[in-house]
Symmetry: D2
Subunit: 336 residues, 4 copies
């Protein structure tokens, strides 16, 4: 069996992660990358021993040796690259969020539907994290009865704030309910197996008050009623003492928690302050296994000709949920 040959568009932090995952998979290889800066393209080619380098997406897509595309650029480019990749008959692994607007999502959905022979997925890697996989399996096995509540907390350490503010000032507007919230929005839908109906959200720019000038915030708290009478509580923040990504699924017969104490490693310590466990600050480390597993799954799907479980529709509905949370925050009352 020949290897699946990947072209990767975008070689920032996530592009690198996916290149590494592909190189570790013995049924796949990265044969081409594309980015704006030629020097950076060359450096990554050398680092990972990748034959083709491009600064033009169309050129990459014209390379007929390529089977599948990883889109790891900013979300405002996703629609264009997805449509072009589909036209070039490539399988697609697209970073989340699927797009920036619902109308773009709908267009993408339609085009994907027209290419039933191609595998398409949105990279919600948490679904592939071993602990989440086990949580889902336990729930399927009935260990907590019927899920009635999903609680998700996604907090970045306060150290990210200055960089974020700079980005906002430069016009990069991805409010936290949409950026960080997208993970918990997806997990809520995945665990609750329903869709959001009405949301209420609060929060503020408590620490980085300048964000308020841009309708942005450093903490957001929300509650959402789902169409199957379940509920999601989603909390996002950029003012943590660490990276704190925590989930809880409450069922009628039990409760599962994931990472409720975000331990950095296996070490604990008696110090004058008490019993101390250091916390995660590196999300790449926390999700390392998940990134690998999601790519392995995509390669398996392409190889077997099957469809990834996370669909383009999940991308649309996830964004829709995030937009509702964001709007609820802005309007200050519950919205449907």
């Amino acid at each position: 069996m020949s290897k699946i040959r990947f072209g990767v568009i975008g070689i920032g932090q996530m592009g690198r992660v996916h290149i590494q995952s592909i190189q570790r998979n013995k049924n796949a290889e990265v044969i081409a990358i594309c980015a704006r800066t030629a020097a950076k393209v060359e450096a990554i080619q050398n680092e990972f021993d990748i034959p083709y380098g491009y600064t033009d997406v169309d050129a990459l897509l014209g390379n007929e040796e390529i089977d599948a595309i990883v889109i790891a650029t900013g979300s405002d480019t996703h629609k264009e690259y997805i449509l072009k990749s589909l036209a070039a008959q490539k399988h697609i692994f697209c970073e989340k969020p699927l797009a920036k607007t619902l109308s773009d999502c709908k267009i993408i959905e339609e085009e994907v539907a027209k290419h039933g022979d191609l595998a398409f997925t949105v990279a919600f890697m948490r679904r592939f994290d071993p602990s989440y996989v086990e949580a889902k399996a336990k729930i399927k096995a009935g260990e907590i009865g019927a899920p009635i509540l999903y609680k998700g907390v996604g907090i970045d350490p306060a150290s990210v704030l200055p960089g974020h503010l700079e980005g906002v000032k430069a016009g990069i507007y991805v409010p936290w309910f949409i950026e960080m919230g997208s993970h918990d929005a997806d997990l809520a839908r995945w665990f609750l197996e329903g869709e959001p109906v009405e949301s209420f959200a609060t929060g503020d720019a408590y620490v980085c008050k300048e964000l308020a000038d841009y309708n942005d915030y450093d903490n957001g708290f929300s509650l959402t009623k789902f169409d199957n009478n379940t509920t999601a509580y989603i909390q996002v923040g950029r003012t943590g003492t660490c990276s704190q990504c925590e989930s809880e699924i409450v069922g009628t017969k039990g409760t599962i928690r994931v990472n409720s104490i975000p331990r950095k490693n296996y070490l604990s310590q008696f110090k004058s302050e008490g019993f101390v466990e250091e916390c995660q600050d590196d999300f790449l480390h926390r999700w390392a296994d998940a990134y690998i597993a999601e790519m392995n799954d995509f390669v398996d799907c392409v190889t077997a000709g099957t469809k990834p479980a996370t669909t383009v529709h999940d991308g649309t509905k996830g964004l829709e949920f995030c937009l509702q949370l964001h709007e609820a925050y802005l309007r200050g009352t519950s919205v449907r």
Copy 2:
């Protein structure tokens, strides 16, 4: 200095707790109790060596040796007994909730205001729990910056459900946002130092579906915006695997959790299931220190002629908050 002499009205579970707390305080003693059933009164008199026993509240209040009254009866009787106790010039320690309606609360507030010489408090004992006391002290000391979010979870084990349903059928209607919720409503106000403005609530009678016939539920989830731009998430339930009373106060610089793993004792165990810590199922045990501390504080106030920190107004505002949560649940949208 002579001891403060107490009369206790109501000798159910909470009445007993308060009698024990008073008997342990060397500056106080219970000299009279009152309940409907003469035999039960006599039994408690013998058990705790209490000289006076009554089946009529007016008779107890007519006993001039009594300095202070503990009202530990159902909340529908509170207004009557409070007004009578004030008329009889007694200090009052009243079980929560203050009353069942806001109009009753307002009447009580007015009457209490007219008796400025008497101590009055509502028994929100959690404010006296050593861990909550320490949490509050740490926050006052600035350890977590400014509090922006209070999360409170109050869950009873599912074993309480049949008894609760029986009560509901017999006409005892104290929905969970009002009964269990009253504790977190009070803690939210205490920690956030603000008042609720708008609430959104969801939930259902997921397990004990019959409750729905009575507008009651076994799980409720809520989010509330406060007037100082802080937020409270309050979750109540009757379908737990244990008694799970958990709080988290998120600040701009850190987070404090109380009882986030409700360990029963100091024991843990390697079992085939994994590493197991048994959980609390006895709220009397969890709050034992708090019940003693709140009574000691009340005795100190009466002795010193000062006013308890938890006021009649806290009773009113706490109920108002709970009623908003309950109404939000019933209406299915956010309410102010």
Copy 3:
């Protein structure tokens, strides 16, 4: 039924604890105390409302109203007071250690044996701590199979060192394997249901090096083979960051731990250092329930005319074990 009337000899820290426990027991009361300083006797009499005060033990023992004696003085006086109390036909609750030498223990054992009508116990309160009681019950119920190893760690915070050194210089020589070690020695015998055969011990005066001049140490580590082929690991120290009293019982089918993270309360905290749980520094708080329960048990025994489960023989064997550990430490090789 009339109350058991206690006379308490020694009104230091432990004397106070026992007075409080007795006053809380509705079947018992302290009617007399004895200590060297008249002023202190009078102060405690006033504080606890105790009718008789003595500065002479014989005078107290001559008080025929007294049913039972608590001996809470230094261990070098235990033999004398026990023999006199027995002669005066009093039940005896004696602080640990039973005595300072094995020969004294033997004499005490013989005299106790001659007074089969009197209750006698040594105050190993940990056997009454709710968590240890539950551990024992679980083991009896077979939850961990047959116990094969007892691990006990008894550490005081380093803050105790200066006071201890002062005591040692003043001639008070109670090495840590005998003082702190006595608790784990007793628990090892209780859980393993065997007797020590051969011990090996190491350690040193690592921090307070001056202790070495007095054959004393601030850390001791030991391993002991028991006659039923089980093993005890006992570690004592005075250089901790907190009070750390930890036990583990390893069985053939599971393991039970007690207080392996010595949490101070129900509070935990996200701080810059990580996830922090403050630790115990107050042994009176840790063992508060145990002190009350052991006294309640003694009162029950005296009332019912039964014998306490912790016998004078436990006092002897416990000391014997501690002395073996201490000798092993001094000799630097294993001793039988």
Copy 4:
């Protein structure tokens, strides 16, 4: 720079692990393997795309393209393969234990000393586990003062017992103090920076009693005095409820624990039994990062021409320590 080309002798569980680690390292590759069974060699060659396959060690060593050898066969073959590899001028990465006897170790040491140009290491991978690396760094930074005690617990789940007994019956005699104990023996030496002087050990074949017929045991407990006045407590077992590899380093100013609760993943659960965290049962998963890191370090050393920090002498001293523990167990008294 050209890649370091490896030949791997032995392709069992550990051989596979090392092949995978090498293949992931971009500066190294496996170009040859050797094992007794031709079919198995071919299968592994295909699986990992390895050009050369041998069933004869000498043939492999004769391959001049090979720079470095991984010895992953049984410990009774180590001496022979090491001497031959040295003669063939290969760098050596040897599985622990270095050999089965001290005399073999000494011979190996001498021969390694004669080949100062070649890198040699023994695979004590725990030194490369991120948590142990961090523990060591914290200690070096003075966070716990001077280390005075190392406690190591190495327990396999009881499920390994039948297979182990079968092996023992077939003549494979690697008692647990030597097999599992080797890890903690190495860690004790590494953390305490001293050498063992006198040991005392107990234990038995408590569960698999047949092991006693072969001077083997399923649980061993030991205490060892070190030449720098520090102490090691090492406990090994094969009767656990899970894989439990736990370390504690006690210093004069603080204590560090590694994996004291052997959590399997980030998941925890409220169940009827209590709050449950599943435990590790797969040592390959626990040490996955360590295996990769130790190989990366070896490749770096070979590439840079430097010497690995874990030396052949560590192999000798580690075995010497284990043999002392084992002898102490057999003789039932302390041995030097």
